[in-house]
């Protein structure tokens, strides 16, 4: 498997007044082409901050990043060509119809009007959004809105798609539907880098997982290997157990003892 994303010693702190918040504190990651990479961690761990650095939105304080062999500092505009990003808050324009919004996004990547229309139709069909093509977000369901955000994020056929909590707030049906979309995308060759707070989702979707806590990566591996590592004879640990044991102040073994 070839490497598509690589970071080393990635750091970022926010300055608010006199206080300095070290949000990301030396993150080393490796993501391989064609995998679904689950990026987990408690609230405030630094996931969104990491994603915003990887997607050229935020200048790191230190560290190396390369995506598709492009260097973040030297070739940010090359990176922008090959990535897609769906932020925690989405990105669909409340004053535009789904169709208008997709066309605009396609044209910003340099597609002609005709290419843009073809791509927009394909995506609307693929994500089951034809019925909302001519409506504005105020009238969408949560799931429709999220799928439009994702359609917008993948308009340029990104090599790697970053999804920040894509399923938060969705009902179980919509979530399962989104999982299917994500798997389909991966099967078409797109690498997926996603964050989630749902452990069963991370377990079901991810080929590999990294768990972040307080600005650092505390664990990396396949879901199976991570679970096996803490399972004792007879009891099979869940990803939830793994998560709780490695993050935050809460420590199961300490409590039992």
């Amino acid at each position: 498997m070839s490497q598509i994303l690589y970071t080393s010693g990635l750091q970022k702190s926010y300055k608010t007044g006199k206080e300095t918040i070290p949000a990301v504190n030396g993150v080393d990651l490796e993501v391989f082409s064609g995998e679904i990479f689950g990026f987990l961690g408690p609230n405030g761990a630094g996931k969104t901050t990491t994603l915003r650095m990887l997607t050229t939105l935020l200048q790191p304080d230190a560290g190396e990043v390369s995506i598709c062999s492009y260097d973040l500092y030297q070739q940010p505009e090359k990176i922008r060509e090959v990535i897609g990003y769906v932020s925690q808050s989405g990105g669909a324009d409340k004053d535009a119809t789904a169709w208008e919004d997709l066309i605009l996004q396609a044209r910003l990547y340099g597609m002609s009007k005709r290419e843009a229309a073809a791509r927009a139709s394909d995506l609307l069909a693929a994500l089951g959004l034809e019925s909302i093509a001519d409506r504005r977000p105020a009238t969408y369901s949560g799931g429709q809105k999220r799928r439009l955000d994702i359609a917008i994020g993948m308009i340029n056929r990104p090599k790697i798609l970053f999804l920040d909590e894509p399923t938060t707030g969705l009902d179980p049906h919509s979530r399962e539907q989104l999982w299917d979309e994500v798997r389909k995308l991966r099967d078409l060759g797109t690498t997926i880098f996603l964050t989630t707070h749902y452990m069963e989702e991370a377990d079901a979707l991810s080929d590999r997982i990294a768990i972040m806590d307080q600005g650092q990566i505390v664990l990396t591996g396949t879901p199976a290997s991570l679970k096996d590592a803490i399972s004792s004879s007879g009891t099979q640990a869940s990803l939830n157990d793994v998560f709780l044991q490695h993050t935050g102040r809460y420590n199961k073994s300490a409590q039992i003892a």
């Binding site: 939105l57 922008r80 990535i83 990003y85 932020s87 990105g91 669909a92 324009d93 004053d95 996004q105």
Partner: protein
Amino acid sequence: MTFLSNLQLFYSRKIREALRNPAFVMMTLTIPLLYLLLFAPMLKRFTGMAEFGSTNVLNFFLPGMIVVLAVFGGLFVGFGMIDEIRQGVIERFRVTPASRLALLFGAVLRDVTSVMVQAIIIIAVAIPFGLKVNIPGLLLIFPLIAMLTAIFSAFSYALALIFKSEDALAPITQGISMPITLLAGFLLPMSLAPGWLQVAAHFNPVYYAIEASRTLMSDHIDAQVVMEAYAFLIPLLGLVSWWAIRKFKTVIS
């Protein structure tokens, strides 16, 4: 080329957004009328007073109103952008290879367009009230008004990116709008002001715009005043744009 095509895309988006907002359209069209209808009838008494120009009081007061439309039409646009930041729309555009300059100026040009429409309305409606128009003068007023709007609009967008909250933007923009319009002589000519106020006015872009627009609407155009206004506003527009674009390019944390 990418810049121009991106600019056109972002401009069309902002225009469409404005046209879809009935309140925005209504206010854009009626504010100039309100200014005129509520204010022009009070001007009769000033006719013939030397401070208000020898020709026609409306020719003296209208430039002030147009300039104030430009200031307000620019200074408060940041609120809309805070909403867009919150929706994630700005980040979404910044992840694409789209030109940041186009992202900013698509919005600025929309604001300039709406102020131009307002200026045209107020002038057209003022003619029956007795406004005397001279076309060459008007042709030199419009670029000044456009630049002034662009200065405040770009400034406001940059403030929105820095503060990202209405709570911070409201006091700042309101705090600026008061002194900047009063200290420009938009109601009373600055020639009536004490010396120190007149000195202060010379740091105020709104002052230059009003002085130049007034002379351009009068019978005797003072070329010196017009030149000064252009000489002040062109570099200022460059400076504010440069600053705002830096905010767009660098971190929006």
